[in-house]
């Protein structure tokens, strides 16, 4: 049963400490929402877990299925089953979506998918997310709108089927229709769309968001409030309701 265990994680950018002791365990079958004001360190947590070179782990530990995640290179983490849907997906000139996805699937599965199978999976995935099939031949994320980039991230989530998915503000910048399409994709991945497909109980989701809006579509089991680089309150879905009504003011004041 896949588990991501974060213990007393401290992360700095340059000399500045951003995360100051994060403790969090995400087990398969669970969806955790991390909510917090801007600048509280939510995205730092996401990128530090993925292994972005800008972030330095100063202390603490992270285990994925008991393996030391922090010892792994960026690509090793992904192959171990960690996925980060990025807030700002990167444009990669000259590398087509199709080529990119095929390379990623090959790397994660350890063998190249059969061409026909890949084409079918890609088409199914794109249809489900209302992505124009022509995007397969376009350069990765290049010239995509914000919504198109986010759909493309969820397409990768569904194709790569990680053990633990971190979704960093996947809802930001989406209109209501796009939010619904993207949320349905996340629910398919969680195996909660009623189809019996998806990875279901084998996967855990860490959903990072500023707004409660997406939580109406993607129901969390746990809600954590992030402020000033650590988790300051935890609860069930009802905590999101409270944040919806009261905002983050109480937390930002307390931590200031």
């Amino acid at each position: 049963m896949p588990t991501l265990e974060i213990r007393d994680l401290h992360v700095a950018v340059g000399d500045k400490e951003i995360l100051r002791g994060v403790d969090l365990t995400v087990s398969s079958g669970e969806t955790h929402a991390i909510m917090g004001p801007n600048g509280s360190g939510k995205s730092t947590l996401a990128y530090a877990l993925a292994g972005h070179p800008k972030y330095t782990i100063t202390s603490g530990s992270v285990l994925l299925d008991g393996e030391d995640l922090l010892e792994m290179k960026v690509d090793e983490r992904a192959r171990a089953g960690l996925f980060l849907a990025m807030q700002y997906p990167v444009e990669v000139p000259g590398v087509s979506v199709s080529n990119f996805l095929r390379s990623a699937i090959t790397a994660v599965r350890g063998e190249a998918p059969k061409l026909r199978e890949f084409a079918k999976d890609l088409k199914t995935g794109m249809d489900a997310l209302s992505i124009d099939p022509a995007f397969a031949q376009r350069n990765t994320n290049e010239g995509f709108s914000g919504g198109e980039k986010k759909r493309h991230e969820i397409l990768q989530l569904e194709l790569l089927k990680p053990k633990i998915a971190i979704l960093d503000e996947t809802d930001s910048g989406l209109d209501v229709d796009a939010l619904r399409v993207v949320s349905e994709g996340i629910n398919r991945f969680r195996g909660l769309d009623g189809s019996g497909e998806g990875s279901g109980a084998d996967t855990g989701v860490l959903l990072i968001t500023h707004y409660t809006r997406i939580l109406r579509y993607v129901k969390p089991d746990f809600v954590h409030v992030f402020a000033a680089g650590r988790i300051v309150e935890e609860g069930g879905p009802e905590l999101a309701e409270k944040l919806e009504n009261e905002g983050y003011e109480a937390y930002t004041k307390a931590s200031a």
């Binding site: 292994g51 690509d75 000259g94 390379s103 350069n139 990765t140 790569l160």
Partner: protein, 373 residues
């Protein structure tokens, strides 16, 4: 432009068939300052003995005629007058010229491949004329390989409404020195496509230039180079718009890796006062893959009329973008593979421009081989 800087247009004024009209370069001249003269093996100062051999063979399309002619042939040197010392030296020294003619309204059914194979020794000099008559169409490949100290001039004469597509592949051995001028002369409504690929050689200095004799000419010059340790690969482009309503587009991209890998790109575009309605753009990008490599990139655009349709230039040299690599790695793709994908992507749009599939595959394979080093 500082007080010391001469207008671009004055730099390209000198031209002559006579070697003596050009002083021996010292390396301080604007047009020679990037070139390591000591590695030219005497091509620039008259000390290179013409004792080497570069064999020229032509595999021509059936519609195309090929002749080997003497120095006195009227078609030789008609479109182009040498513009620097080595070019004049080559013009003064070659013995036989190759003339490829695509007759009026003929459409060549397959590429005409001119193979230039160096077999060592001292210097060799050459001259090629490719003449595409009115309304004709052809693809010509110049395929350079082997070991040589070679200076030559190539004239592309593109007639009214004609189309010429050229691929020039510099795939020399590690010790080769090649200094070459490629001059294209475009008549009314002529189309010229040049694709230059420079990979091998100790020193390659290639100067493609374009001139227009009537309105409606359209030139597209694309280049790809991969510079390894110790190599000096230099491309000097000159597009001179002297008549109205012509178009030019220049896109050169290179990657560099290894100690003392040196790329030079000079892109000169002049729009003369009479060349109203000109549309031009030039771009150079360099991807520096390791420490110790150096790219010099100098775009120059001189506009002497206010009535242009478009004119611009861009140049950038930089390293692999860490964010590109991170994104690919974050999807499980190992670093080496991610790097290969990004570099491949850097060249991808250029490679798509090579219409001859066989050549595209070969260039692609050559790039892959460079990446595997």
């Amino acid at each position: 432009m500082g007080l010391e800087t001469k207008p671009l247009s004055t730099l390209h004024e000198r031209s002559s068939y006579n070697v003596a009209d050009f002083a021996v370069p010292t390396g301080r001249e604007e047009e020679w300052r990037f070139t390591p003269l000591s590695r030219l093996k005497g091509l620039h100062n008259g000390t290179a003995a013409a004792s080497g051999t570069v064999d020229v063979t032509v595999d021509a399309a059936p519609e195309v005629t090929v002749e080997t002619v003497g120095r006195d042939d009227a078609r030789v040197g008609k479109a182009y007058v040498p513009a620097d010392r080595i070019s004049a030296q080559a013009y003064a020294s070659f013995e036989k010229a190759t003339v490829v003619t695509v007759p009026r309204e003929a459409v060549a059914s397959r590429p005409t491949v001119i193979t230039l194979r160096g077999s060592g020794g001292g210097a060799a000099y050459g001259h090629i004329v490719v003449k595409v008559e009115a309304m004709a169409e052809a693809v010509v490949v110049l395929d350079h390989s082997g070991s040589a100290v070679y200076a030559d001039n190539v004239e592309f004469v593109v007639g009214d409404g004609a189309t010429l597509k050229v691929v020039s592949l510099q795939d020399w051995d590690d010790d080769a020195v090649h200094v070459s001028h490629h001059h294209a002369q475009l008549a009314k409504d002529a189309t010229f496509r040049s694709f230059v690929v420079t990979l091998g050689g100790d020193l390659v200095r290639l100067s493609p230039s374009v001139a227009y004799t009537a309105p409606g000419g359209d030139a597209d010059l694309t280049g790809l180079y991969f510079v390894d340790a110790g190599q000096h690969l230099e491309h000097r482009l000159l597009v001179e718009h002297t008549v109205p309503n012509c178009r030019s587009n220049v896109t050169y991209k290179g990657a560099l890796q290894g100690e003392d890998a040196h790329a030079v790109w000079i892109g000169d575009v002049i729009i003369r006062a009479e060349a109203e309605g000109t549309d031009t753009y030039e771009l150079n990008r360099n991807l520096i893959l390791t420490d110790g490599a150096r790219a010099d990139s100098v775009p120059n655009l001189e506009i002497l009329t206010g009535e242009v349709a478009g004119a611009g230039h861009a140049s950038a040299s930089g390293r692999l973008d860490d964010e590109h690599i991170f994104y690919l790695q974050a999807r499980g793709i190992p670093f080496e593979e991610a790097r290969r994908l990004v570099i491949h992507g850097f060249f991808a749009q250029l490679l798509e421009k090579i219409e001859v599939e066989e050549i595209r595959e070969r260039v692609l394979a050559a790039v892959e081989a460079e990446l595997a080093r």
